[in-house]
Symmetry: C2
Subunit: 401 residues, 2 copies
Amino acid sequence: MKISHEGLSKVAGFLGAGLYCGIKQVKKPDLALIYSANECSAAGVFTQNRVAASSVIITRNKLLKRGKARAVIINSGNANVCTGKSGERSSLAAIRATAKALQIQESDILIASTGKISEPLPIHKIIRAIPDLTGQLSIPGCHLAAEGIMTTDTFPKKITVRGNVGGKMITVGGFAKGSGMIHPNMATMLAFLGTDARASSSLLKKALKKSAALSFNSITVDTTSTNDMVLILANGHAQNRSFSAESKEFKQFSELVLTACRELAKMIVKDGEGATKFITIDVKGAKSGSEAKKVAYSIARSPLVKTAFFGEDANWGRIMAAIGCSGVPIVENKISLSMNGFPFVKNGIGLGNATEKKVVKTLKQKELFLTVDLHQGSEEARVWTTDLSYDYIKINASYRT
Amino acid sequence: MKISHEGLSKVAGFLGAGLYCGIKQVKKPDLALIYSANECSAAGVFTQNRVAASSVIITRNKLLKRGKARAVIINSGNANVCTGKSGERSSLAAIRATAKALQIQESDILIASTGKISEPLPIHKIIRAIPDLTGQLSIPGCHLAAEGIMTTDTFPKKITVRGNVGGKMITVGGFAKGSGMIHPNMATMLAFLGTDARASSSLLKKALKKSAALSFNSITVDTTSTNDMVLILANGHAQNRSFSAESKEFKQFSELVLTACRELAKMIVKDGEGATKFITIDVKGAKSGSEAKKVAYSIARSPLVKTAFFGEDANWGRIMAAIGCSGVPIVENKISLSMNGFPFVKNGIGLGNATEKKVVKTLKQKELFLTVDLHQGSEEARVWTTDLSYDYIKINASYRT
């Protein structure tokens, strides 16, 4: 398997475009389009938030109905959420204008939005820009599309994964946005993947669902958002033979999708608002996978643990307290903890000052690895998170001003 | 009902003491004692954290066994948690030394600890100080006891509530600590109440449990802790007639306990680490009380909502998003929001810029009132919280250094 950061541009048959249409206050791309020359199988996973943006509702319904698509129109700068009927009308108008400019069916066009919430979408700006946007579709335009979906992101997040699927070389590529406000069940998180594989919509859904659980839904920077979606479009350019859900080929293909999602998710965490540390939390020895994940999240979400990481403090008591309030019936005196490879808690008790000093030294690293062993079973889970810093407060206290 | 802030000192028959024994790095009281001249009925509620301090385990077991007590010894500066068998031995040694100095039974002494976690308790310092501590027991000493349990608290939290119970004037008084790290199911939160009522241990438990749910367990500043407890001791000095759980007297008495708990809980929130705002969140129109509470907590715990309050930003979209991810099946276009009495969201949609400007002006107040109406039923819940500021990060990133 080969991983590079060229995004969608290396997937045969896909074009992209991105430009500034005037939604953002600063002149940075805020409108993006991806396009396939032929009709694709398509699938998506969406936010679990009961308050969902009109783009989420429309795209989810389209995929449920047909599982096909040729284009995705995406705006940043405004999430078009909590905007009622007029918000829905705006989303449909954007789709209509895109269909007209591309001369394809409205049913073949999906939509996504991200940005400030609870403000009306300036739809006229989008409609006015769409002819330019479609006119600029190109292979390098995929890079501009990746920029066009950014909000507080400090860098575009692009991935290309290439590997063998039943003897054919298959490519999965795409891009994502997200920085802060990220949490399981996905928050202000968008990702768009294209592949040259031939695969049915239901197989895409199956691969994407599992991949999202192990990637986008395994990162926690903040609470869940209203606009999140991950889409995958498969155009079949590779002309591989069809495969079933039980085949080796499906397993190989799923691995490519998972890798693409995981790399994008990790980039999102690294770009967490104000983050100074990237933390991988592994929980082992759990009775079940879901118990392992609960414990991992309880640590990853604890403001006390996160501020201790920011302060480079080996405060293992806070980690123990977070484990204790995870809701999982852990046994305190069975727990061991390692930080960056150094065991520093055994049977629920710290291994002393000398060990702690060693650990503290390693906390100066930007990437941290915490391993928790519950010694209750053989299941495990991994989540990624960041520390909680002054800059997180700064960015989020003033985001709208 | 009369409320004042004299704490335990106004409850007949109770004495207190507090001094510095050397646990804290700064010379502030870190050891406290409360004492009753006669044996009391006693009850407590405790942390739900699976990782519990030895003081929690010992005190909980003592109350389960006998429901009686005469004294409580409390240290601050060290939580004596995650310290295994030696931690338990230290707690028992502190009880033994107190019993010896007071010349009462060990079984009549309860214990609590708070402070830094996962460090060995310097028990010799406590034992050395206990004779001085018991020698200083007095009525004004109750104020020193309130100071002796403080950690990052910036002020002692004391309450006295006096009211009629079946024709007798009954007093409930006490003190609490907590500032930051507070969350439902109680976190680094200690409260000690004394009353001159005559009431059985089981009635005390009943009154305290309900009161804690509506007070200490309705505040959320952070995640749950390992050491929390709320204790109540009743010495019977008022010589009221015994009452049953169904009596009017019990209702009157419970109201006094609830008021004492609620006032202490509000003081804890006001002292939240780095807090600049005190926020009351009322959720109405829910199908059940538990759904109302879930929605209220989802808002109160959202870092995005809390940083928006700090930034004095009327970001109602973030509030809607927090409601949406509460797990409660809300209906977006039924929801209305009011801030400080101004309706600013109706049927899930903002009432426009003019309204928002009015609301923004009121956000400069230190006390904020958010009301959410789900329009789905008639149940409600109230929680209290704070904003999330730079100083929260500062206090918690450097707490151990």
